[in-house]
Amino acid sequence: MPPVDIPETETHEQTGVAAPWNVVVHNDPVNLMSYVALVFRKVLGFSKDKAQKHMLEVHHKGRSIVWTGGREKAEFYVQQFHAHLLLATLEPAPQD
C-alpha cells in the first residue's frame, strides 16, 4: 500500500464564543462569611484556604473573581451561586 500524504491542518481558536468570562461574587451584608466560603467549596471545589481567601476578598473589596473560562460554564456557576442565594454575575474577562 503506497504511503498516504496527510495534509497539515491548522486550528484556529474561535473568538467571541471562546472569549473568556469572569464569574464575580459580590458582597452582601446578610450572608454569613462561613456560609459563603462553604458555597465556594461546594460549587467550585475550592480548598478551604482558597475558599477563605476569596470569601475575604468579597468581604473587604466588595467582589471577587472566582472563576474565568467559557461562557456556558460561567452561566452554570452563576446559576449555582444564585441557587445558594449568593450575589453573582458574569462579565467578559478583559483580554490582552
Partner: protein
C-alpha cells in the same frame, strides 16, 4: 437549648424554648416572602446583557423557584416532626436535610433583611431581644437563624 451533632452527621436540637420554637416555625413563612425587594434579592440579574437577563428569567428563575420551595418544604416537614418534652421542644435535622435548612434559613434571613431595609450597620448592631418592638425582634430573628446556619456549616466541615 442543647445542640448535638450525631455520628451520622445529623443535628439534634433539644430543649428548644417555646419562643425560639415559634421562630423556627416561622422559617418557611418568612422565607416565602412576596416582598418585591426580597424577590429581586432572591432572583438577581446574572449580567448587564438584556438578552441573557430575559433568558435567565424564562429558564433559570423557574428552577430557582422550585429549589427554594423544595427546601422550605423539607424544613416544614422536619418542624412537624418535632416533639414537645416538658417545657421545651426537640427535633432533629437529618444529615441529608442540611442543604435544605441552609437554603431556607438563608432565604428567611435575606427576606427579613430586605423587608426591614437592614444594611451593614444594622447587621452589626448589638441585639437586645424585645418582642414588643418589630425591629429588634427582626434583628434577633436574623441572628438566631444565623446561629443555626453556623452550626450547620460547622457540621459540613
Amino acid at each position: 437549648m442543647k445542640l448535638t451533632a450525631t455520628e451520622e452527621g445529623a443535628l439534634d436540637i433539644e430543649g428548644i424554648p417555646p419562643f425560639l420554637f415559634d421562630l423556627l416555625n416561622a422559617i418557611p413563612l418568612r422565607a416565602a416572602s412576596e416582598d418585591p425587594r426580597a424577590e429581586s434579592r432572591f432572583f438577581p440579574d446574572p449580567a448587564r446583557d438584556e438578552l441573557l437577563v430575559e433568558d435567565w428569567k424564562a429558564l433559570v428563575h423557574p428552577e430557582l423557584h422550585a429549589a427554594f420551595l423544595s427546601a422550605r418544604e423539607v424544613v416544614l416537614a422536619d418542624l412537624r416532626g418535632a416533639s414537645e418534652l416538658g417545657e421545651g421542644f426537640s427535633m432533629q435535622i437529618p444529615a441529608n436535610h442540611t442543604d435544605a435548612w441552609l437554603s431556607a434559613l438563608n432565604q428567611a434571613r435575606l427576606a427579613i433583611a430586605e423587608e426591614n431595609r437592614f444594611g451593614e450597620k444594622d447587621m452589626a448592631e448589638e441585639i437586645v431581644p424585645d418582642t414588643s418592638n418589630p425591629r429588634p425582634l427582626a434583628l434577633f430573628q436574623i441572628s438566631f437563624y444565623g446561629f443555626l446556619q453556623e452550626c450547620l456549616v460547622k457540621l459540613q466541615d
